[in-house]
Subunit: 502 residues, 2 copies
């Protein structure tokens, strides 16, 4: 079996780095190999069969914020329910996962935390799929066709979907007074936090794991993401960091050789001859970035099967190779851990995605409202890049026929003073972040008030707290989850206290 | 000069009572005479010349919540600026009126309170017009053409307009750190309160005068509005209340006469013969409802020129007429005060509006999201009516081709538990209400927390606190405004204290 260069649907990151850090002139050729969304969905469909959920479809309204004749068109939004632990009459809460950019089954599988704590809380579990992902396609197979259909894909519509669905669900199951807590990881964590801000009458609290809500406009320094990836590798081994940092120039040099493509294909053990050296660059890049994100303390299979602390493992590979070997060959060997930890690959497919449509949701979202500018600084282990909003916007305009709205997210949800605003006017939120995760740099990293709490772990990675508990979990992770449970319990206690008084 | 039956643009009320309290079978014939929106705008355009404002137009985006190709269409939103009292460097705040359903000039003229307090605060005054009203027409003369254009008219889009405009304005005048306080009366007060809830990062506080935010779904009893109108008249004189209550049957009896229309035309001194007895009914109804709303303690000219405490004056007229006179003739005499206080009318036009389009904004809003069901109880002085959502929805569907979304407002902004939610999660809001105003019954009438304050006056009417001060203002009104000033000052003090600390 040959490993494709991105067999997970972790689009959130993929597209950001593709769009925003690589020079704009190169974005176009880079997109396609990465659009493996459809294939990953197929993988997820298999996972579905194992899931302890009932699948439901909610007749959702297409456009909550206009009343045009076509706004009231109904589409079927998928959601998953597990009521095996629910004790409604005993005051059990409703735990809702606010789905992000992918198939909801995949998020359900990878948010074992909610399952693990459901029995303690007697909670009903609900996972709602984000519109335009998975099976929740407002225009069926035509959903990604153009801006005329994709135009309905954005975060405000998604939040309104959740509000309408939750209200209706509570009415249908006669549990209007059951408290709702929303959970989300990554973009889903942003949605959970924003939902709590905008719909405090629907959710009594939000657990937002690895939610980079400060990654817009210039709130977070633009180079911080790639600096953080680099920091992970540097901490593991200075030599490792330097080898990777030096490997790009060797790849560039090869690209000028007459037989450069052949040499690179050989070095990277590609199944087919490469069409572009950039494919090798992206393949490496992706491996390092993803591995930093999922630098989990235990063996895990979120993006790809990987050992515990995979960044350290990659660096061990690099440090263990003979001094004379080229930096590029060392980088390749390290990246192979990401693509082939299971040792089942005989060769690698660096090019060619399987998404026949050539479009998918996050790509659109990044070109409209989710504008998170990023650069690579001289200190990072990646080739330095600058950011040109103009070129980015031109590219989006060319691809979709729409202009990005780069200041909209901070206008709608709060910008530079968002932390002060949360401190004063928000409440009942947990922002959990692991500093191994480069997204943590755009997260809320300090307590803002008694009820807006930042849980930061130095050794944590991308929403590691949301993963199922394992017998190998380190103490800091066990402790973090315990804190989350205690805080949620406080919210519920307070809710029921208030309810009695009113 | 002949007085038209509704020469003000106070559509908010007009349409609610037309749509929701009169039997649905009658709604259609009743609409047209009331659609005098355009004529009232002409009146307002004259007022404009006297206004101490500079007129500006902001390039506003058509649809904030989708990214369809046409969503980014720009229209020009009118706003008024007065900077004569502003001391930006001295910490002067920005006071923004969140325009409601009419020409912004009219609201500016009738919100003298903001002018009166601007010097004390060194405040910049900004009045922003609501989309689809006045000059802020996204599709020019075609804006009211059909649901395809009107579909963009709703409260969420309006709030987003205000957010985008305020952010841009602050940037343009280099006053990013100036605190913004939003003000609004009636529907504008609902917008101010909701703006504070949804955009706490943009407005540090909201003064919501006579804002019936609890008038949705079944939060407020459906008969409360007309019961409150009736209560005003009953308090002025029991006989007055009974005369009006009895007048409708006399009108109904006349309508069955062969020469009924002629008799009614004669009795009501109409300029032209009537086509329907219902016109007389509406004419009376409107006079009583509006007079209750604007039962101000001083002579005023908001809807129409009226004396101080006009309900009492109406009842004096009724009580002063000979016992033998018919109830209907007494009701007519009382209503004449509303239409002819200046004694310049020789005859009355009870039929025929001047709105050539036959459509206007609030009518649409009431048929989409602003669904506030009302009935007339047996205890009211109006003919008892029930409410059928089904018929209401059918009528809206027939007229506009869209379905109302009767639960959307409470989903988006909070419903049954909204007061608890405000108490816990809101802050810095003033809800002022006068109990003479029937809309007060859907308002927030008790303090919810230290910073969500209800200022209720027993003798106050529809946003009386927002009117310019006069030398005849009663003590309770002077006191109410003083409290508002003190609370706003607290918000500003706190804001600057926080700013220093961060």
């Amino acid at each position: 079996m040959a490993a494709s260069s991105s067999s997970s649907s972790y689009i959130f990151l993929i597209l950001l780095f593709v769009i925003l850090c690589v020079e704009p002139s190169q974005t176009k050729s880079i997109y396609l190999p990465r659009n493996n969304f459809q294939s990953s969905l197929l993988v997820n469909k298999h996972e579905k069969t194992k899931m302890p959920f009932k699948v439901h479809y909610f007749p959702q309204i297409l456009d909550h914020f206009t009343f045009l004749p076509k706004s009231s068109k109904v589409f079927y939004q998928k959601y998953l329910i597990n009521d095996q632990y629910w004790n409604k009459d005993g005051g059990g809460p409703i735990f809702v996962y606010t789905g992000n950019e992918g198939n909801i089954d995949w998020f359900a599988v990878n948010t074992g935390f909610m399952f693990d704590i459901a029995p303690k809380f007697n909670a009903l579990l609900v996972f709602i799929e984000h519109r335009f992902y998975g099976d929740s396609m407002p225009f069926g197979n035509n959903s990604y066709k153009s801006a005329k259909t994709l135009g309905y894909l954005n975060s405000q519509q998604a939040l309104a979907d959740y509000a309408v669905l939750i209200r209706s669900l509570k009415q249908n199951i006669s549990s209007e007074s059951s408290p709702v807590v929303v959970f989300g990881g990554s973009y889903g964590g942003m949605l959970a936090a924003w939902f709590r801000l905008k719909y405090p009458h629907i959710a009594i609290g939000a657990v937002a794991s690895s939610a980079p809500i400060l990654h817009f406009d210039k709130i977070t320094p633009r180079s911080s993401f790639y600096d953080a990836v680099s920091q992970d590798f540097k901490e593991a081994s200075l030599n490792c960091y330097e080898v990777i940092k030096g490997s790009w120039a060797e790849l560039d040099a090869l690209s000028t050789h007459e037989d450069g493509l052949i040499e690179v294909s050989k070095l990277f053990r590609t199944c087919k001859g490469l069409h572009s050296v950039y494919s090798a660059r992206d393949w490496l890049w992706e491996a390092f970035v993803y591995t930093a994100m999922v630098n989990y303390p235990t063996e895990a299979n979120f993006m790809m099967p990987l050992p515990a602390y995979p960044v350290e493992e990659m660096c061990k590979i690099i440090d263990g190779l003979p001094k004379g070997a080229s930096r590029l060959s060392k980088a390749f060997a390290a990246a192979s851990l990401y693509y082939n930890y299971t040792q089942t690959e005989k060769c690698f497919n660096l090019e060619g995605g399987t998404d026949a449509h050539g479009l998918h949701g996050w790509d659109w979202q990044a070109c409209t409202e989710m504008v998170m500018p990023m650069t690579c600084s001289n200190e990072s282990m990646f080739p330095p890049t600058s950011y040109s909003y103009k070129e980015f916007a031109q590219d989006c305009k060319k691809r979709y026929g729409v202009e990005p709205r780069p200041h909209w997210i901070t206008t709608e949800y709060g910008g530079y003073r968002i932390e002060q605003v949360l401190k004063k006017f928000g409440s009942n939120m947990i922002f959990s972040n692991g500093m191994q995760d480069p997204w943590s740099r755009g997260g809320v990293l300090k307590n803002l008030s008694a009820s807006i709490v930042a849980l930061v772990t130095q050794k944590g990675a991308h929403h590691v707290d949301f993963r199922s508990e394992t017998k190998n979990d380190p103490d800091w992770l066990i402790m973090q989850r315990k804190q989350e449970v205690a805080i949620i319990q406080n919210w519920l206690d307070e809710y029921y206290k208030d309810l009695k008084q009113n």
